[in-house]
Symmetry: C2
Subunit: 437 residues, 2 copies
């Protein structure tokens, strides 16, 4: 088994398996080793051993007859076969895809279309149990591909992919990308990195290691196996931009020694590595610079403005605005991003490409939309701004429009209600969980 | 013994030891093991063994009486004691220090002043066999400190420190900082990284690894042993600056995906790591941003403008000017930089501090000075400029002046002749070496 990498002291409630799966603990047999011969005797008597053997044969037969169920490669794979969606969350993965006319990628949901079987790709998604990653995985699985998710569950959650556990084309590996891994795949979507300030500032050195060693490891894998590699970079590489909106040619305005630098500089150097592997080793690479994105499965309370406002409004708390609230952001609905990532991966252009929604909102305008959507009585509370927070950010997406034929289709007013349902459920469950303790 | 890290295919002629130091090879005793009893007999006869024992006692006594000579820690140390400067290069280390009134650090050259022995520091200098590193080591040794040099000899050269081989306070470890190392020291000067474009572009991924893993390893060491850590960053973190001259508060203008990015972004992220270890773990850190520096022991033909011009003028070749020759640089003599680094390490301020000479020259003006100094008949040849080459760069050093009480003292016209002597000797030796082959 792959060693479990403990990365932070943050709570990991979601990683515990249900207690019923583990064998009952039997302290006696450990404390009294002298009674071992007697229990051995017990096992040997009464054809008990024979029945164990019969059980083994039955189990083996089952797996031999269904080879796809035993296709795990033995490297620390969590493959929980024959287990349907446990908690009713299964529907989430199939909500927003196949609606927007991206016919090329909508081969139906959940089943492999006839005839596509032998063309299906093996794809690894690092960070695939995270917010964006899990939506991407849903889309790739729906398209008919074999998908391996790598996640260390620092910010990723099993709930985000639990509805896929029963699918033989899905596999989940608990692994930290800071360590190398060997896999045989055709494409690598490299998303693994905490992406919200509250998470990436938690252990800045680890954030840099994830960006540098993680990207190095995945690029090394891509080089070794000839896979295509897609880096999800970020609009943060533009820092607090002096050019507005930001084109891909803009070099950015980033503080190298600030408290956010671990993420900004880490992602910049990940881009550098990606281009150096391309130039030096001929690795097929793609770079996406992702702007603010929202949707179901975002972390609650991760400090990002959309999740903050929505969670606060649902909880009947005032919405916290940092600074004067006039700094602007653009908000992209997650399914738009997923289509952009796939278009980039499948296309012929390296990038970098801005993937974001150019619709620009001030924090106060966003608060207004959240208020309209959730609770007309919601209020706003002002707090001093955090260090290095960019004043405005808005993508120029003409390059992606022209070369990838991509643009976002879902407006904030359309997308926000879809997110609110998910958040309401989770906050409700959270409160119930607290109440029952 | 520490494993030898082969990092590049570049020639390493300078690392071979003189053949006269190795014991003569005796194939007979190996090929005829049956003759061993006879040779044993030979040794036992005639009191030969007794004399060997006497020799051992003499040797041991020598080391017991001079304990400092046996202070090596046995970790892959190349300590060649009792060996005076071999080739007349010994004087180089003592040329330029103790002249400029930095009384605090000039306790005489080559000998430990009386009474300083118990206060002397243990200092490691990574990249200590390189151009700047070796001058720093000379100064620290001259001050009376114990100095350990770590170098992988990618661009460092043994010739730069060979005059120190006989000094018991000097130690040389062949080690690549990309791998961790355990040492017990009080201060860490972290210089290790190829610094000229021709070298850092040679293997861009390795350049990033050196900057990230190398800095991580040395910061980890500093944290573990409570040492003070000084990072030598670079003016390249300012990229092609939009602010002129550059203050330390300027965030820079760097292309994250260009061919020079491995160095620029690598150093930026090294600064980030340094500040994160300071903020998160309380490591005592110092950051210097070094501007163009020249002096004896610079690599010949490393593509840097000063060494290029000087080498070309000495070889009677035309001096190559890239672009129109109107881009400007500031040139700092290496001894000024060394005093700045020591003042920063010993002072109470973290930085970053610009260390450079604010005197600004265009490439054509520099060519003129080289012409005057070396050969009035030297000519200039224009070539197209390389990608991402900054148009101008000039340090604002008011912060270092105010807080470190430091400023450069040696002008280009003073410093250049000191470098020319060294270059002339080396180019002459090079030509002789070629001629004799």
């Amino acid at each position: 088994m792959k060693q479990l990498h403990k990365q932070s002291a943050s709570a990991r409630k979601d990683e515990e398996m249900p207690a019923s799966d583990t064998p009952p603990y039997s302290p006696k047999s450990l404390k009294n080793p002298r009674s071992l011969p007697r229990s051995l005797n017990y096992i040997l008597k009464e054809q008990r051993l024979l029945f164990v053997l019969i059980g083994i044969v039955i189990g083996a037969t089952f797996f031999i007859l269904q080879p796809s169920l035993s296709s795990s490669d033995g490297r620390g794979v969590i493959s929980i076969a024959n287990r349907e969606s446990i908690d009713g969350l299964g529907h989430r993965g199939q909500t927003d895809f196949g609606r927007h006319g991206y016919g090329k990628y909508t081969n139906g949901v959940g089943r492999v279309p006839v005839g596509i079987g032998n063309r299906r790709k093996r794809i690894v998604v690092t960070g695939g149990a995270g917010f964006v990653g899990s939506h991407l995985v849903d889309k790739l699985i729906a398209r008919g591909d074999d998908v391996i998710v790598i996640d260390n569950f620092f910010t990723g959650r099993k709930e985000n992919v639990v509805h896929l556990f029963g699918n033989p084309r899905f596999e989940l590996i608990r692994h930290d990308v800071v360590e190398p891994i060997l896999l045989e795949v055709d494409q690598i979507y490299h998303l693994a990195c905490p992406a919200s300030p509250v998470h990436y500032k938690h252990n800045p050195v680890k954030t840099i290691k994830t960006n540098v060693m993680g990207t190095l490891n995945m690029l090394g894998l891509a080089k070794r196996i000839g896979a295509r590699f897609l880096l999800t970079s970020t609009s943060e590489v533009y820092g607090d931009p002096l050019e507005h909106p930001q084109k891909e040619t803009y070099w950015g305005h980033v503080n190298p020694i600030g408290v956010r630098s671990c993420y900004d500089e880490g992602k910049r150097v990940a881009e550098t590595l990606t281009m150096d592997y391309h130039r030096g080793d001929g690795v097929e690479v793609r770079i996406a610079r992702i702007f603010n994105t929202y949707g179901p499965r975002m972390c609650l309370d991760d400090g990002r403005v959309v999740s903050n406002f929505v969670a606060q409004a649902i909880r009947k708390q005032p919405m916290t605005v940092y600074g004067d609230g006039k700094q602007t952001r653009s908000f992209q609905y997650v399914s738009d991003l997923v289509y952009g990532l796939i278009a980039l991966m499948e296309g012929e252009h390296i990038g970098p490409f801005n993937l974001g929604n150019p619709g620009e909102f001030t924090m106060l305008e966003l608060a207004e939309v959240v208020k309209e959507t959730i609770d007309p009585s919601a209020t706003v509370e002002f707090k001093p701004n955090t260090a290095d927070d960019p004043h405005k950010r808005k993508p120029d997406i003409s390059k992606a429009k022209e070369l990838l034929n991509w643009e976002p289709k879902i407006s904030l007013k359309e997308g926000l209600p879809r997110m609110v349902d998910d958040f309401r459920n989770r906050i409700l469950n959270e409160d119930e969980g607290r109440g029952s303790r």
